[in-house]
């Protein structure tokens, strides 16, 4: 099985992704150009840039991009922009405050790459370890935050985090 190619895989050399006049993304496969409704990550948490699926407006898969990095510069820019919009997940740089409120709810105040943010989580189950040092946190409203590498946090943030987990 492993040696075989998966179905619907797009050859990065044969496709182009560009925006039409109104700014909507289109995909050119061979000599056919089709509008794209969304780009969907197969592994949004563990491997965001591989196996990105391209869907049209009727919910059909137009193809799968094995690795976004292999696309040409301009296509990649469009895909990155679209993915960034769809998968909003700020990266936590510093944990400023952690407070246990009530009923298993914990409040965080953090500094992220998108700015300052307060959010609340439902207990420990909202914190998911992805491997040894990467963390994904889901807040009570379903927003996601990421700690890229626990080891890179300052010691105060680390100890605040350890207090929760």
């Amino acid at each position: 099985m492993s040696a075989e190619e998966i179905e619907n895989l797009l050859d990065p050399g044969q496709i182009e992704i560009r925006r039409d006049g109104s700014g909507k993304p289109n995909i050119v496969i061979g000599d056919e150009e089709k509008p794209v409704s969304r780009f969907i990550r197969s592994f949004p948490l563990t491997s965001p840039n591989t196996y990105v699926s391209v869907w049209d407006g009727d919910g059909n898969e137009l193809g799968v991009i094995e690795n976004v990095r292999k696309l040409d510069e301009s296509s990649r820019k469009v895909v990155d922009e679209e993915l960034e919009k769809a998968y909003f997940m700020p990266r936590i740089r510093k944990i400023l405050r952690v407070k246990e409120l009530y009923g298993g709810i914990t409040e965080f105040s953090v500094e992220t790459d998108r700015g300052y943010r307060d959010f609340e989580i439902h207990g420990r189950s909202a914190v998911r370890m992805m491997g040894a040092s990467r963390v994904v946190i889901t807040d009570v409203d379903g927003n996601k935050y990421e700690i890229r590498n626990l080891k890179d946090l300052d010691s105060r943030s680390k100890s605040l985090f350890g207090w929760v987990v």
């Binding site: 919009k85 009923g103 379903g142």
Partner: protein, 750 residues
């Protein structure tokens, strides 16, 4: 109160300048992500004339006149959303971006735009199929919250998982007053308990005084006291013990009886509530209300309130006595009290956190167990025993370290508090000793003093934790009242009609239904099923088949239109009499704990053996039942005999047959069994449905070949109706489904 969602003053001013006084705001939302993906705060305002977005500093980032807006929609992604506006020439623009925290407000804005201002909804111009992407994202969100509302509608704070009771909006005094209402029927026992409690507490103050007098007697060589006082002491101790035993019994009786009432009432309510109450909640969480929450309330009534009472009486009593003996010494001896209070409440908070961690570690360990023990076959099949052992060891270690944390804290706290209390009494001895020597105080009074001071310190400690207890009881009580206060949405009207002998003539007229306001599950359903007719319902999953039969059983009422049986609107029918006339066989039959016979007779508990056997025979279940060593007396359910899916299914068919229903509903009854079993079940079903009005849902279209009419649903609408042959000829949805299934069957055969 400061609310980050309220527009800032600068924004409000800018808005006024822009709008003038005549344009009123129809809807507002706060956008918290800017175009570059950074957190920000800007506000979206919708008026009759325009949609405008103003940044925190007052700059306008977006503005469109309503009449230029062709359509408006909210697109939700993983972790964020977007308000998208389409203008006349097919151009789409992002008006604002927002996190999931703000989604609700944005949905409101689009709803207002669509309903009040007549703007078009969700991109009809570009045929945008965002529904596909959204449905699976939604599933994930629901899993993380459990409830529709993750925030308190009153204060906006997040709700603890699995409840809609906000601990901040709980009206503590009101709730506790209502809780005390349960004491009223047992007021005699309650009054007796309180009387006993106060008497015992006051009695307990006497021995130290008597002991002091005894010592005074010794030092003053008064032998009469040496006879009298021991007798008094013995009588007081004896009286205290007798009264205590009475107290333990009455309080126990009181607590258990109150909680018995509450538990019964909660359970009765749970059974009465309609299905949609259950749709929104998890089973485990509802079970915990009947067990854990009632236990919390009992703890509060049986131990919390009495302890509080004892403490207050003791402190007042001791206070009065020690201050009468020597007020200066009394004042000094109370010096450790503030430290005690502070220390205890600090300790309570710390240990609470640790207990929480312990509790979480327990939960994690149990979830490992709950995962792997039932899944042991899979673990062994993939030879992953070692990994599972490691995983368990990890959670076990976490538990160990949390437990040790609690021991460490307790091992430090209690000795420290003890030392403080000893210091207090040593200080009293030292100071009092001088007073005794100076002749200002008798030795016996000093002894009385020191023992009473000890009695004073203990209640102070327990007062440090009282607020926590009240909070816990109030929240538990509120969660229970939440159930008691929900009204079943489907109720029998006062003049409800009993359905006795019915023909089984079903009519659905213009029926529309949805579980949540955003998504219609059934739209404009018009359907007539004549008595004795069998109709087959088919369509892809999620097309509304199961919902349609739930409306026929009146588990839900339609939003618009009506369902009639024999010309009577179901809303006017007595629910019990309706369900007795309907036999339901579900895809995954649920059997209760009990014998096979009891399960077959579930709907008619007084059915005779003959009826049970006849029903089992008709259901093709008789033979396999007899092959079990205990026959019809075989226990089934969780710890009972292991029955295969097909066997359970046939028992559930027998259960339906014995009721001799006039209407039969088969919900994919044969989907999960092998072909031989399927034939057995098919035969059983044919006997069951003979001459009765039947609605059958099936994925395998072959099981519908006996149907008089087929009804094909698609996205909640009836798209085709007719016999098998008619529908094949039409070459529509049905013929496509049939073709697909024959191909699959062929592929399987190869």
């Amino acid at each position: 109160m400061y609310n980050p969602n309220d527009p800032s003053r600068v924004v409000k001013k800018r808005l006024r300048e822009r709008l003038g006084n005549s344009e009123s705001i129809k809807a507002t939302a706060m956008s918290d992500i800017d175009g570059g993906g950074k957190y920000t705060r800007r506000w979206v305002f919708l008026t009759k004339k325009r949609l405008i977005v103003i940044e925190l500093d007052g700059s306008i980032t977006f503005e469109k006149r309503v009449k230029d807006i062709e359509s408006i929609e909210v697109r939700e992604f993983a972790g964020s959303g977007m308000l998208i506006v389409e203008t006349g020439d097919g151009l789409t623009e992002e008006a604002a971006r927002f996190t999931k925290t703000q989604s609700k407000d944005f949905l409101k804005v689009t709803k207002v735009a669509i309903s009040v201002l007549g703007v078009n909804g969700n991109g009809n111009g570009n045929g945008n199929g965002n529904g596909n992407g959204d449905s699976f994202l939604k599933g994930e969100e629901e899993a993380s919250n459990g409830l529709d509302d993750s925030r308190c509608p009153k204060c906006g704070r997040p709700l603890p998982s699995g409840t809609s009771v906000c601990p901040f909006c709980v009206h503590k005094r009101k709730v506790l007053a209502r809780l005390l209402g349960y004491v009223r029927p047992h007021w005699k026992a309650a009054a007796a308990s309180i009387l006993l409690l106060v008497t015992i507490t006051m009695l307990s103050l006497i021995p130290p005084i008597l002991l002091g007098k005894l010592i005074n007697g010794i030092t003053e060589k008064d032998t009469s006291l040496l006879v009298k006082i021991p007798i008094y002491l013995i009588s007081v101790y004896a009286a205290m013990q007798v009264l205590s035993s009475l107290r333990v019994y009455t309080m126990g009786w009181l607590g258990e009886n109150i909680i018995f009432d509450v538990r019964t009432q909660v359970y009765r309510y749970l059974q009465m509530l309609s299905l949609n109450f259950y749709d929104r909640r998890r089973t485990g969480e509802l079970m915990s209300r009947v067990t854990n929450d009632t236990a919390n309330i009992r703890a509060f009534l049986v131990s919390g309130i009495p302890t509080l009472l004892v403490n207050v009486v003791t402190m007042v009593g001791v206070g009065i006595i020690v201050f009468t003996i020597d007020w200066k010494l009394a004042a000094i001896s109370l010096l450790p009290v503030p430290v005690l209070l502070l220390g205890t409440s600090l300790f309570a908070r710390k240990i609470h956190g640790i207990y929480h961690t312990i509790w979480r570690s327990w939960a994690r360990m149990s979830s490992v167990l709950a995962d792997t023990i039932p899944g042991v076959l899979v673990v062994k099949a993939f030879a992953q025993e070692d990994r599972e052992v490691d995983k368990f060891e990890g959670t076990n270690k976490a538990l160990l370290s949390a437990d040790m944390d609690s021991f460490r804290l307790r091992s430090m706290f209690f000795p420290a508090i003890g030392l403080l209390m000893y210091l207090g009494s040593v200080f009293v001895y030292w100071r009092g000793g001088f007073q005794v020597v100076a002749g200002e105080l008798k030795v016996g009074d000093l002894v009385t003093f020191v023992s009473l001071i000890w009695m004073f310190y203990a209640p102070v400690q327990s007062l440090g934790t009282i607020t926590d207890q009240v909070q816990m009881a109030a929240t538990a009580a509120e969660r229970i009242f939440e159930i008691l206060d929900s009204k079943p949405e489907i109720r029998d009207s006062r003049d409800s009609v009993e359905l006795s002998d019915i023909q089984g003539h079903i009519v659905m007229k213009d029926v529309t239904f949805s579980y949540t306001p955003e998504k219609k599950v059934l739209t404009d359903i018009n359907l007539e099923i004549k008595p004795g007719e069998m109709i087959g319902l088919a369509g892809s999953s999620g097309s509304g088949k199961s919902t349609l039969v739930k409306l026929v059983s009146r588990f839900y009422d339609p939003e618009e239109g009506y369902v009639e049986i024999d010309g009577v609107d179901l809303r006017r029918v007595n629910q019990r009499s309706l369900r007795e006339r309907i036999g339901i066989v579900l895809q995954e039959p649920f059997l209760f704990h009990g014998s096979i016979a009891e399960n077959i007779a579930y709907g008619r508990p007084h059915a005779g053996m003959k009826e049970i056997v006849r029903a089992a025979k008709a259901a093709n279940a008789h033979e396999f039942i007899l092959r079990l060593p205990n026959g019809y007396d075989t226990e089934v359910g969780e710890r009972g005999a292991r029955l295969s899916g097909g066997e359970k299914q046939r028992i559930s068919i027998a259960r339906a047959i014995i009721n001799s229903p006039s209407i039969i509903i088969l919900d994919e009854a044969t989907s999960s069994v092998d072909t031989v079993t399927e034939r057995m079940i098919q035969e059983a079903l044919e006997r069951l449905v003979e001459g009765k009005t039947t609605i059958a849902i099936a994925h395998r279209l072959s099981t519908l070949r006996n149907a008089d009419k087929l009804v094909i649903l698609d996205e909640g609408r009836i798209v085709e109706q007719g016999t098998h042959d008619e529908l094949l000829e039409r070459n529509g949805v049905y013929s496509k489904l049939v073709k697909m299934q024959t191909e699959i069957a062929k592929a399987r055969a190869v």
